[in-house]
């Protein structure tokens, strides 16, 4: 399998979250999560850089058909788009909706739906233009 060519597509979605852990006192939550602990939440424009790899088909010249990829990826990210993650998305009710955990969630959701024979190679989740999280499974 060729592993020297990857294709990366960038998607965006917007979501709100609050970082909070019921196990900790209010004071401790404030200390650990700072302004991300604001009770009413806050939001970000997330950017997902999704990288796939695989053989370049001699018939199409492509690793993957972008339209098919977009269709599958949107099924995953549209669930999060314009939601309050820690309230409206079951997965994040007891798991902090941090950049790290959102990246892992997205990887797990995406890894099985990428149209074959391409495969998910890497994701980078930008939470702001200054913070990003890389995950490879």
């Amino acid at each position: 399998m060729s592993d020297n060519c990857t294709l990366t597509r960038i998607y965006s979605f917007s979501a709100a979250h609050r970082l909070h852990n019921d196990k900790f006192s209010d004071e401790m939550n404030k200390q650990i999560f700072g302004k991300c602990n604001n009770p009413n939440g806050h939001g970000h424009d997330y950017y997902l850089e999704l990288t796939v790899s695989g053989d370049v088909s001699p018939d199409t010249g492509m690793i993957i058909n972008i339209e098919e990829l977009d269709l599958e990826v949107h099924k995953v990210i549209d669930i999060l788009d314009h939601k309050r993650l820690d309230i409206e998305i079951d997965y994040f009710i007891n798991i902090r909706a941090s950049g790290e955990n959102i990246a892992k969630y997205l990887w797990d959701e995406l890894v099985t739906v990428i149209p074959k024979p391409a495969y998910l190679y890497h994701i980078r989740l930008w939470e702001t233009s200054e913070n990003f999280f890389d995950y490879k499974g």
Binding site: T8, I10, G61
Partner: protein
Amino acid sequence: MDEFITLSKKIEFSASHRYWNDSWSEEENLKHFGKCTSKYGHGHNYVLETTVEGPVDPDTGMIINIYNLKPILKSVLKQFDHKFLNLDTDFFDDLIPTTENFAKILYECIDEKLKDTRCKLLKVRLYETKDLFVDYWK
């Protein structure tokens, strides 16, 4: 551990292309390539990001002088800039000018030109649009 440092240079250029496989029916082409089959092509502002590696010259503090690298890259891109890739270049007579194939062609052209320098081509990243790019390396 040996020191590992890279230098990357971005250059923008513009070209048009069309996706079409002669061995397929029109219907099959449309199914796979959609609006990219448009007969007279369509264009992009491509951005080529070239990454080289090599020892840092103690006299200049550089892997390669950008003043030397830039004309090398420009000389490669000259044959693609403001061209219709399918018809105006020889590379895509039997190859569909997808971003994947184009990145590979650019890698090979640049790699050949860098043979006379002290640096080695590590990777090319070719942006077709700002939300789609291909990395190619060997």
